[in-house]
């Protein structure tokens, strides 16, 4: 009995697969009238929830913009970080708008659009210090969250600088900004979104984002099934249009604030 059920299911599956190959993803989305986006909702300010527990954030707005461009309704599907790509592969979402770094390893599984956002490392300094750039941190006491990429890189710089420079590791991001506000630290390096959120929160007085740090920039792209060229092509143009029309700047100002990071890599196409 089980065997027959399985055979019937496989036959049915073959039938469905046959019909599904006719129209591509872009057609499917438009005809279904619904765009399902994978969004990470515990990653402020990219994705979070408001006081009514409705999804908000940069990625949520970006998904809504994409749906509006396609003329369909957006559906936000909450996916934790490790669930983003499985959700796409099991056809629970059409596109990932989930701050996903466009690594070559991931690109073996899914197709990425051109970058739609970039996480830069920035220098946040206490007011009253003469720190205006990354290099001017030389000779100062600096700190970061122990074990993070930026802490390891910063400590290397500090060891190289010598000359009164000191590095202090902290357990959490909040500890770092507290130390900065209390004058135990002169400056710190962190992700731009984190720095801006802490400056804006008003919990830490007398600190400001002063410059970007010369560390690797984390570019993130939208992603869809890698064989859906029509849809991926559309996503590339959509990201381009968001920047061209000033919508990207607008959303960056709304959710992050500060200098808008460039999404192009100097000296390279795409």
């Amino acid at each position: 009995m089980k065997k027959y059920t399985l055979t019937a299911l496989l036959l049915a599956a073959a039938g469905f697969a046959g019909t599904a190959a006719q129209a591509d993803k872009l057609d499917d989305i438009i005809s279904s009238g619904k765009l399902r986006c994978a969004v990470v909702l515990d990653f402020p300010p990219m994705g979070m929830r408001d006081e009514n527990n409705e999804p908000i954030g940069f990625d949520v707005d970006y998904c809504n913009d994409l749906a509006a461009a396609l003329g369909v309704e957006a559906e936000i599907v909450e996916t934790p970080f490790p669930e983003r790509i499985p959700a796409l592969m099991s056809n629970r979402v059409d596109v990932g708008v989930a701050s996903t770094s466009d690594t070559l390893e991931r690109a073996k599984t899914v197709g990425f659009s051109i970058p739609y956002f970039a996480f830069e490392m920035v220098v946040t300094a206490a007011e009253g210090t003469d720190i205006t750039s990354f290099e001017s941190m030389k000779g100062h006491t600096v700190g970061a969250v122990a074990g993070t990429y930026e802490a390891i890189a910063l400590e290397e710089y500090v060891n190289e600088w010598g000359d009164g420079s000191e590095f202090r590791p902290y357990q959490t991001q909040a500890d770092v900004f507290l130390a900065l506000a209390q004058g135990q630290l002169d400056a710190t390096v962190s992700t731009s979104t984190v720095a801006q959120a802490n400056v804006k929160s008003g919990n830490f007085g007398g600190i400001e984002v002063v410059a970007s740090a010369p560390f690797d920039i984390d570019y993130v792209g939208l992603f869809a099934k890698r064989d859906e060229y029509g849809f991926l092509n559309y996503l590339d143009l959509f990201v381009n249009q968001q920047i061209r029309t000033g919508r990207y700047d607008e959303l960056y100002e709304k959710w992050v604030g500060g200098d808008v990071p460039s999404l192009t890599v100097p000296g390279a196409y795409r």
Partner: protein
């Protein structure tokens, strides 16, 4: 001394989650019980050898963790069948079959508990198989099976917390959403536990009441 950012709005949000938990549980327990009775009777009637394929099928549902069943069923529906079923539908489907697998065992145990001599006596009085099942086996077996069935229903209600993996925002998932936003895990889990208690307590008491009433006749 005690300070929380939890608003009335959030309590309504939790209550909605609790509502989903109740609906998923109710659907799964009703369908699961009906299927369970059918499967249980088939197993008893056909005997061990003839019902072996069914037994194997039910054993799969009993031995594979529910979480894995949900993820696999959801992936199967999406990838192989290419159907866009809602997570709610998949959750009810899997949970119903899961319930039916356990319920079949309870039903089988209940029927086996009815003395063979009693059933033979019924048949020698000229009762048909249907009459024997309806008037002799059902009343006796139900009394034996009820406590386990109540236990199963309560268990399924708590197991329904796992359906969050197929994007169903039930009670536990609602709590997790609030924990992410408000960062008050212990307080919120306490409230979540209270909600679960409020839902399961009446069912447990109702089971106790039936047991008591039926044992006095």
């Amino acid at each position: 001394m005690f300070d929380t950012a939890l608003s009335a709005n959030d309590l309504v949000f939790l209550a909605k989650g609790a509502g989903i938990t109740i609906v998923v549980t109710a659907i799964s327990v009703v369908i699961g019980t009906i299927l369970g009775i059918i499967f249980g009777v088939i197993r008893v009637q056909l005997g061990a050898v003839l019902s072996a394929p069914l037994t194997l099928f039910l054993d799969i549902f009993r031995s594979v963790p529910l979480l894995i069943q949900l993820v696999l069923a959801n992936a199967f529906v999406g990838m192989v069948l290419q159907l866009q079923l809602s997570g709610f539908f998949v959750a009810c489907m899997v949970l119903s079959l899961y319930t039916s697998a356990y319920c079949a065992e309870i039903v089988r145990g209940g029927i086996d508990a009815v003395p063979t001599v009693t059933r033979r006596a019924a048949r020698s009085l000229g009762m048909s198989w249907g009459q024997d099942m309806r008037y002799i086996v059902m009343p006796l077996a139900t009394r034996v099976a009820l406590p386990s069935w109540i236990g199963l229903a309560l268990g399924v209600m708590k197991d329904s917390a796992l359906v969050y993996v197929v994007q169903v925002t039930e009670l536990l998932k609602s709590t997790q959403i609030l924990i992410t936003r408000l960062q008050e895990p212990l307080f919120l889990l306490l409230i979540c536990g209270a909600f679960y208690f409020i839902i399961s307590f009446p069912l447990a008491r109702f089971g106790g009441y039936l047991e008591k009433r039926w044992s006095n006749d």
